[in-house]
């Protein structure tokens, strides 16, 4: 990283953040608005135990995926912060 200026490194850090956001928000959209709403009827033909799959995504599955998404984001960003040396220590006070 040393060959890049500080501004360049910050811009690269921000681009990676935006890439993560794009991927995670796509999944967020697909499990809720996709599986739970727009594709519910075709998915309801598939069974998951006593559930119809589309209904399960709308009332259970999407919520579980949301939780996982946030923790994946936390892990990705913590790694990215270390990689770019931008973790905040004193800046919060």
């Amino acid at each position: 990283m040393s060959d890049l200026s500080e501004a360049g490194r910050h811009a690269a850090y921000w681009r990676r953040n935006l890439q993560y956001l794009a991927i995670l928000l796509t999944i967020w959209f697909v499990v809720s608005f996709g599986f739970g709403i727009l594709l519910r009827e075709p998915l309801d033909a598939i069974r998951l135990g006593g559930f119809k799959l589309g209904f399960w995504f709308a009332q259970q599955g999407s919520i579980l995926v949301f939780v996982v998404l946030i923790f994946v984001y936390v892990a990705l960003m913590n790694r990215l912060d270390r990689e770019y040396g931008v973790e905040d220590e004193a800046s919060s006070e």
Partner: protein
């Protein structure tokens, strides 16, 4: 011990706990009062956020609503949890980095505009008052049903408790009390849910029982039985809905985006020590919320199945005791149209006339009685409902108080005041807000239920776009942000006011714009806000250098 004895005991113990916590953690500075000095560990902040977020409506009404709405109830489940993904990814870490006291602080500083700040303060205060009135009403209902006191007395006791710890402890006191309240409310929600799941399906975990086969030896899945019963009686199948797909889409989006724009939720992320903590704290908040939100639809399905299996066709004299108990206070109604002494409970698609009505709000509160659970469980549920209402009320009161003392006085009209004076003003504003909230609790304006759509619609169409554009767009300037907020807000408010108050008789799918109900219109308001903001920003000079520096600063942890 009787139900009432247990209720007094458990509610008393929980109140003593909250007061104890408040004394132990009282605020000493404005930083303590507004943001707990940014020293709250992320897991605890997650718990406090969950308690703050889950209101009397989540605890008391949601499962009941879903039991009547079936699939359509998914809008609340996805809407009120999916918003946390937006919060964690698009809002919380950046605002924590910004590190001031309130949401209008960010909007005012980012756009270097007093007008933008004042518009944001107006939204924050309106949203918070709308919400808090509902909480106080919830307190009153629980007191009157379980402790047999007047609703007024209940509201006044609730006001006194919230006044004590919100005014004394500020954000610090509220945070730690909310942690205690979360524990009370989740325990009291899960205990009856687990009992009922075991009763209906033999599964200990309600989320598993929800998709399991019935315990009656028939081998039929619970949801299939429920669909069958519903259709036979002329209701819509539970796993189907009546709303159009488009409307479900728009309502879900409005609730999600609204959640990510609610000031009392956003402000909780100012209280953690650093940016990484703000991210994980949002994750913990959603974990604690998801525990209740995945249980609620299971409870809804159990309660509905139980109801449809026990009520229709029974003779009135034979009905279980809980039906008669709730009938006494008017939340269950029976009218024997055909005079045969039997209850005919049927839906609109059935030929015959329905004779039985049950209020949606009582499902969770009546559940322990429906399932014949011991008296202490009923008391526990009352304590949990109060915890949910009080924790949300306290968080909202804090937003009102900081909006008045910090945003209006310190940052706008009296910039010279000392920290001591600001702290005093914050306490006075909190006290004043408690009294107003209590008044609305005792004499609820008829429109409380109607304006909930308002709160989410406004947050979605004003605060969320202004905040995210401020972080993600370097081009966005004050003119764009203010024009966007005014356009989004104006459009959303006009639409809701028209259908809810001016022409309520036209409030149906035939008259809605593109078939979108007032509950979902905030989504369109948000789109309009983004479009107008960009258009105006492109046509006006770019934001000043100090705004751009602020953008660069919040983008890095």
């Amino acid at each position: 011990m009787s139900i009432q004895g247990w209720t007094f005991l458990l509610v008393g113990i929980s109140f003593a706990l909250y007061i104890g916590v408040a004394i132990w953690t009282r605020a000493r500075s404005t930083a303590d009062f507004f943001v707990a000095s940014g020293h709250v560990p992320p897991v605890l902040n997650g718990m406090a956020t969950a308690a703050d977020w889950m209101s009397a409506a989540s605890f008391i009404s949601m499962a009941g609503l879903i039991s009547f709405m079936g699939y359509d109830g998914s809008v609340y489940l996805m809407g009120w949890t999916g918003g946390y993904v937006l919060l964690a990814l698009l809002v919380a870490p950046y605002l924590r980095k910004f590190g001031q006291f309130t949401v209008p602080d960010f909007i005012g500083d980012r756009y270097a505009s007093r007008v933008a700040r004042i518009v944001a303060v107006g939204c924050a205060i309106f949203i918070s008052f709308t919400y808090v009135a509902g909480q106080m009403r919830g307190v009153g209902i629980v007191f009157s049903r379980f402790l047999d006191v007047e609703i007024e007395t209940g509201v006044i006791v609730g006001m006194a408790i919230v006044f004590f710890y919100a005014v004394l402890g500020g954000m610090k006191g509220i945070t730690y009390t909310q942690v205690a309240q979360y524990c009370v409310l989740i325990f009291s929600y899960l205990v009856p849910a687990i009992f009922i799941s075991m009763l209906m399906t033999g599964n200990v975990i309600p989320q598993v029982g929800f998709g399991a086969t019935l315990a009656d030896g028939s081998g039929v899945a619970l949801l299939d039985r429920l669909d069958q019963l519903s259709v036979d009686l002329g209701f819509v199948a539970f796993t189907q809905g009546r709303k159009s797909t488009l409307d479900v889409f728009f309502i879900t989006a409005a609730l999600m985006v609204g959640t990510a724009g609610l000031p009392h939720v956003i402000v909780r992320f100012y209280t953690v020590p650093k940016v990484a903590a703000a991210r994980s704290s949002a994750g913990w908040a959603l974990v604690f919320i998801a525990i209740l939100y995945t249980t609620a639809p299971a409870v809804a399905a159990f309660a509905r199945t139980n109801l449809l299996q026990t009520i229709p066709g029974r003779s009135y004299a034979d009905l279980p005791a809980w039906v008669h108990n709730w009938q006494k206070i008017g939340l269950v109604k029976f009218e024997d149209h055909d005079g045969d002494g039997r209850v005919r409970y049927v839906g609109p698609a059935h030929g015959a006339k329905n004779e039985f009505e049950i209020d949606r709000d009582i499902m969770v509160l009546a559940n322990p009685e429906i399932a014949n659970l011991p008296a202490w469980v009923v008391g526990l549920v009352a304590a949990g409902a109060l915890a949910a209402a009080l924790s949300t009320a306290a968080g909202l009161l804090l937003v009102i108080s900081s909006s008045v003392a910090h945003d209006l006085l310190k940052k706008t009209f009296a910039p010279g005041i000392s920290e001591g004076a600001e702290l005093r003003a914050a306490r006075i504003a909190a006290g004043f807000a408690v009294v107003v909230a209590g008044y609305f609790g005792i004499r609820p304006p008829g429109f409380v239920a109607q304006v909930v759509a308002f709160a989410f619609g406004l947050a979605a169409s004003s605060i969320f776009p202004a905040v995210t554009l401020g972080i993600f767009s370097r081009k966005m300037n004050a003119a764009g942000a203010v024009a966007g907020m005014v356009a989004g807000l104006g459009f959303t408010a006009t639409y809701i006011i028209y259908f809810k108050f001016v022409a309520p008789e036209l409030n149906n799918a035939d008259h809605w714009f593109l078939g979108i109900s007032p509950e979902g219109i905030g989504t369109l308001g948000m789109v309009l806000n983004f479009a107008v903001a960009y258009g105006v920003a492109l046509a006006t000079p770019p934001p000043p250098a100090r705004s751009l520096e602020l953008v660069e600063r919040v983008r890095l942890p």
